[in-house]
């Protein structure tokens, strides 16, 4: 069984992809496939998709192809990862000040697994905001 990152080609597909997942966190990467930062992120997402298949699914959305969410979700960064659970946006406190999304490319697969698991566990308990296992404020990044 192979897990490739699925592309969603319009807003309705994005909506349905999130709606149909009853007991899984939905991770959506907004960006462009040709963007180097997105390529890096896709690599990590692709690498962990098999490991977290029990509690998370990954989708890729091209923000040029599907511009519906650009304004409402403030998708100004080249690469943005957002989490949803049962048609609800799950925020994650990464220490960056922006709790809505991961707007940079992670470098470590395990970190991404931890984040997805934290989101799933928090969302299962009804939390809208979970705290990232690692603080990604610039203090620790550099």
């Amino acid at each position: 069984m192979s897990y490739v990152l699925q592309h969603l080609h319009n807003g309705w597909q994005v909506d349905q992809a999130i709606l149909v997942e009853e007991d899984k966190a939905v991770v959506i990467r907004f960006g462009h496939d040709w963007d180097p930062q997105c390529m890096k992120m896709d690599e990590i997402l692709y690498g962990i998709a098999d490991k977290v298949k029990n509690f998370a699914v990954f989708y890729v959305v091209d923000i040029s192809e599907v511009p519906d969410f650009n304004k409402m979700y403030e998708l100004y960064d080249p690469c943005t990862v957002m989490f949803f659970y049962r048609n609800k946006h799950i925020m994650i406190d990464l220490g960056t000040g922006n709790n809505n999304k991961i707007n940079w490319a992670l470098e470590d697969k395990q970190e991404m697994i931890d984040i997805v698991e934290t989101v799933y566990r928090g969302a299962r308990k009804g939390r809208g905001l979970v705290i990232s296992p690692k603080d990604y404020s610039t203090k620790y990044r550099y």
Partner: protein, 241 residues
Amino acid sequence: MPLPAALQARLAKRGLIKTDEPEKENTDANQVSSGKCPNTSNPYHECSEYCRKRWGSPAETNTNEAHYQQMMLPPGWFLVPDNTSGASYYWNTMTNQVSWLHPLNPKAQITNPVMSDGRGHEVMPNTAIPSPLVGSDEREQVLNIGKHPSLVKGSQKKMQAAVKRKQQEQEARARKKKMDDLDPLDPAAYSDVPRGTWSTGLVDKGDAKTGVDTTANGPLFQQRPYPSPGEVLRRNAAIKS
């Protein structure tokens, strides 16, 4: 021992001491001898209780009119007896204005005569019609014969000042209204931006920059979730329609 003058006067008034009349009589003999209020020539003076008591002239309450009746009439004015009422009124043969009181009396209401057909019943105020007092300088001088010029001029000035004040008030009100229209701190007042309306500047659903709740602030600011994709699509559809 001589008493103080004030005390002496009071005691004399109550009949406790005998007054030495001749001495006091001399001081204001001219006034007492005339037997009427010395302010009768002052058109702004109305005889009060004190005047009547002091000068003992209850019949002189009408002195103003009596005084004016003795005065010379301005040119063109004649005293005409009224057949219906029995009294007499003043009639200006030049302007055809009438007045019950002497035209120089500031209380006089100089009006147009009531029309014989019975339609012009309303009494025009003095200011509406050019009074004979308002005229060329030499005529005014003629009118002021036998009267202190400050009095005549003052009454005219008062009237004109009242009219002027009214106009100024209206102007000020109009100016204030105009000022109210535009707040000086409104950018439209000092720059060429267009005038805003009540809803200008409010975040409209249509031009909202974000899907999050823009009214949340403080500790809630970082806890505002985005709407779900379905909600976003619905909002986009609502904006388009």
